[in-house]
C-alpha cells in the first residue's frame, strides 16, 4: 500500500542503496579483482533488500504498530497471528523482489554484471527456501520485538552491519576465518546468498547447491515452529504483564 502511495521509494530503495554498493565495487576494481566480484557485490546488495525488509517491515512491524496505537485492532481481529504475519511476509517478498530486481538491473546497466544462471529450477528452489527461512526468522523476531520497547528498534539497527559482515554480503564467506564461518552458518541468509551467487554468477546447478537446499529446508521448518511458539508465548506474556498497549517505553 505504502509503495503505491509513495512511488518515490524507487529512488530511496533502489537507486540510492546502489551508491554504497558501487563504492564497494570500485574497491574491487581499484584492486583489479576478477569481474565476478562485481557480481558478488550486486547480488549481495539485492539480498540486503530482503534482509532489511525482514528486519524493518517484518520483525519491527508489530513493535511499530504498538508504538502507533494500531496493535489493539490487530489483536482483536479474529485471525491467526501466523496468518497475519504470513500475509505481511508475502507482501514484503513481492515488494522487495521488485526492489531487488531494480538493484540487479542497475548492476547490469551500470557495471555490466554478467549472470550465467546455471539452473533456473535450482534458482527458484533456492530463492523460495531462502525467503521461507528468512521470513520465518522475521516472524520469530516479530514476536520477540512485540515485547520490547525502543530496544527493538536498536536491535534491528544492530542486526545490519554485523550480519552484512558475517553473512558475506560483499564477499564470499569462504574468505572469513573458520570460527567466523561457523558463526555465519547459524544465519539462514548466509546459505541462501551463497547458493544464489553460485547459481547466478558461477553457473552452478542443482547438485552443486544441494547442501544449501537441505540446510535451508531445516532452517525453514525449525524457524516456523519457533515462530509459532514464540508468538504465542510472547503474546501471553504481554497480556499478563499488560505490555501490549505500552507506547514510547
Amino acid at each position: 500500500m505504502g509503495g503505491a502511495r509513495e512511488p518515490s521509494w524507487v529512488i530511496w530503495d533502489t537507486v540510492l542503496p546502489m551508491l554504497t554498493l558501487s563504492a564497494y565495487i570500485y574497491v574491487y576494481r581499484v584492486m583489479n579483482a576478477p569481474p565476478e566480484f562485481t557480481g558478488f557485490v550486486v547480488v549481495g546488495g539485492a539480498m540486503i533488500a530482503f534482509w532489511l525488509n525482514v528486519l524493518w517491515n517484518m520483525a519491527a512491524q508489530l513493535y511499530w504498530e504498538k508504538e502507533t496505537g494500531n496493535l489493539e485492532p490487530f489483536l482483536i481481529a479474529p485471525i491467526s497471528r501466523m496468518a497475519m504475519l504470513l500475509g505481511m511476509a508475502i507482501g514484503g517478498i513481492f515488494n522487495t523482489t521488485l526492489r531487488a530486481l531494480g538493484i540487479l538491473l542497475v548492476g547490469v546497466l551500470a557495471f555490466h554484471v554478467e549472470f550465467l544462471m546455471g539452473d533456473p529450477f535450482a534458482a527458484v528452489v533456492v530463492f523460495a527456501l531462502t525467503m521461507a527461512a528468512l521470513y520465518s526468522l522475521g516472524m520469530v523476531f516479530a514476536s520477540v520485538f512485540l515485547m520490547y520497547g525502543r530496544e527493538a528498534w536498536h536491535t534491528s539497527h544492530l542486526l545490519q552491519e554485523p550480519i552484512y559482515f558475517l553473512s558475506g554480503f560483499y564477499f564470499p564467506v569462504k574468505f572469513l576465518p573458520f570460527w567466523l564461518q561457523v558463526a555465519a552458518s547459524l544465519i539462514p541468509v548466509t546459505f541462501g546468498l551463497d547458493a544464489v551467487r553460485k547459481i547466478l554468477i558461477q553457473g552452478a546447478g542443482f547438485a552443486d547447491v544441494s547442501l544449501h537446499i537441505a540446510v535451508l529446508s531445516i532452517f525453514t521448518v525449525v524457524l516456523l515452529l519457533a515462530a509459532k511458539w514464540t508468538l504465542r508465548f510472547m503474546e501471553d506474556m504481554g497480556r499478563r504483564e499488560g505490555r501490549l498497549t505500552l507506547r514510547w517505553q
Binding site: 530511496w12 558501487s22 574497491v27 581499484v30 579483482a33 536498536h154 552491519e161 514510547w248
Partner: protein
C-alpha cells in the same frame, strides 16, 4: 530570538537527542551497541581489502590505511545523515511532538542543529573507539605521533558544519515526504558521499562525470584534509583543502537554510506538520 534563548534551545535539543538515542537501555549495553556497528562496518571494508588483495593484482599495503581512515571518519557522515533523515518522522509520527516543537519558543532550525550536534558527539566517540580498535587490535599502520592534530581538529569542525548542512537539507525534505523504509533514507543518502567523496578509493577511479560531482561536494575536500592530517602531511599541503572545504561548506550552509525555510513554509501550507502515514 535573543542569544540566550538560542543557546538554551540548542542545549535542550542536544540533551533531548542524547536521551532519545541513549536512554533506551543501561549504559553498558548502550556502550556495546555503540561500538559493535562501527566495528562491523570497519571489518567489512578491511575484509574487502583482504579479499581484493588475495584475488586481485593490487596489493599495496598503503591502500589498507587509506580505506581504514576513510571508512572510520565516514561514521560521522553516516550517523548524522541517519539521524537527520529520521528525526522529523520520529518526532512527527512516532512521538507526535513535532507540532509541540513548532508552538514552543524554540526555533525548528536551532532544534535540528541541536539534534545533529548530539549525534555528532556520539559519532565522534564511535570514531575514536574505531581508531583505537583499528590501531591496537587490527594493527593498522597509523602513527599517533605523526598526526597533525591542529589540522585534524580544524577539518573536523568545518566538516561537521558541512555534514550538518546536508543533514538539515535531508530533514527539510523529510518534512514534505512520508516515512520510507523505517529511517533508511539517511543511510541511503549517505551513500552519495560514500561513493563520490573518495572515502574508500581515490576519486580518480571514478568516471569523468562522477569526478565533476566529486569536485563540488565539500566532503571530498574534508576526506582529503582528514586523511592528510592523519598521515602527518604538512600544514601547507592541507591548507588548500581546508580552504576549499570552508568555501563549499559556506555555500551549502546557506543553501540548507534556504531549503529548510522553503520546506517549513510548504509543510505548514499543506498541513503536513502533524501528518501520520501509519505505514
Amino acid at each position: 530570538m535573543a542569544v540566550k534563548d538560542v543557546a538554551r534551545s540548542f542545549r535542550h535539543s542536544v540533551w533531548l537527542g542524547w536521551k532519545v538515542d541513549a536512554n533506551w537501555t543501561d549504559p553498558l549495553l548502550f556502550a556495546i551497541y555503540s561500538v559493535i556497528r562501527p566495528i562491523a562496518g570497519m571489518l567489512i571494508v578491511i575484509f574487502l581489502f583482504l579479499v581484493g588483495s588475495q584475488v586481485g593484482e593490487n596489493t599495496d599495503p598503503n591502500y589498507l590505511s587509506y580505506v581504514f581512515v576513510g571508512n572510520t571518519f565516514f561514521i560521522l557522515v553516516a550517523q548524522i545523515m541517519l539521524s537527520m533523515g529520521w528525526v522529523i518522522h520520529e518526532d512527527r509520527e512516532h512521538y507526535e511532538v513535532l507540532k509541540c516543537i513548532y508552538i514552543s519558543p524554540a526555533s525548528l532550525y536551532v532544534y535540528l542543529l541541536g539534534r545533529a550536534f548530539s549525534t555528532a558527539l556520539m559519532a565522534l566517540i564511535s570514531v575514536a573507539i574505531s581508531l583505537l580498535f583499528g590501531v591496537a587490535v587490527l594493527q593498522m599502520p597509523i602513527d599517533i605521533f605523526l598526526i597533525n592534530y591542529a589540522a585534524l581538529g580544524l577539518s573536523l569542525i568545518i566538516g561537521l558544519v558541512a555534514i550538518s548542512s546536508f543533514g538539515l537539507i535531508l530533514a527539510s525534505v523529510a518534512l514534505l515526504t512520508a516515512r520510507h523504509g523505517a529511517g533508511m533514507v539517511g543511510e541511503a543518502v549517505a551513500g552519495i558521499f560514500y561513493l563520490f567523496c573518495g572515502v574508500l578509493f581515490p576519486v580518480s577511479a571514478l568516471p569523468p562525470w562522477a569526478q565533476v560531482v566529486s569536485k563540488v561536494l565539500p566532503l571530498t575536500y574534508w576526506m582529503k584534509a582528514v586523511r592528510a592530517s592523519m598521515f602527518g602531511v604538512g600544514p601547507a599541503e592541507i591548507l588548500n583543502d581546508i580552504a576549499v572545504l570552508a568555501a563549499y561548506t559556506g555555500v551549502f550552509y546557506i543553501v540548507s537554510l534556504g531549503v529548510l525555510r522553503l520546506a517549513d513554509y510548504l509543510a505548514r501550507d499543506k498541513g503536513l506538520i502533524d501528518i501520520t502515514t501509519e505505514y
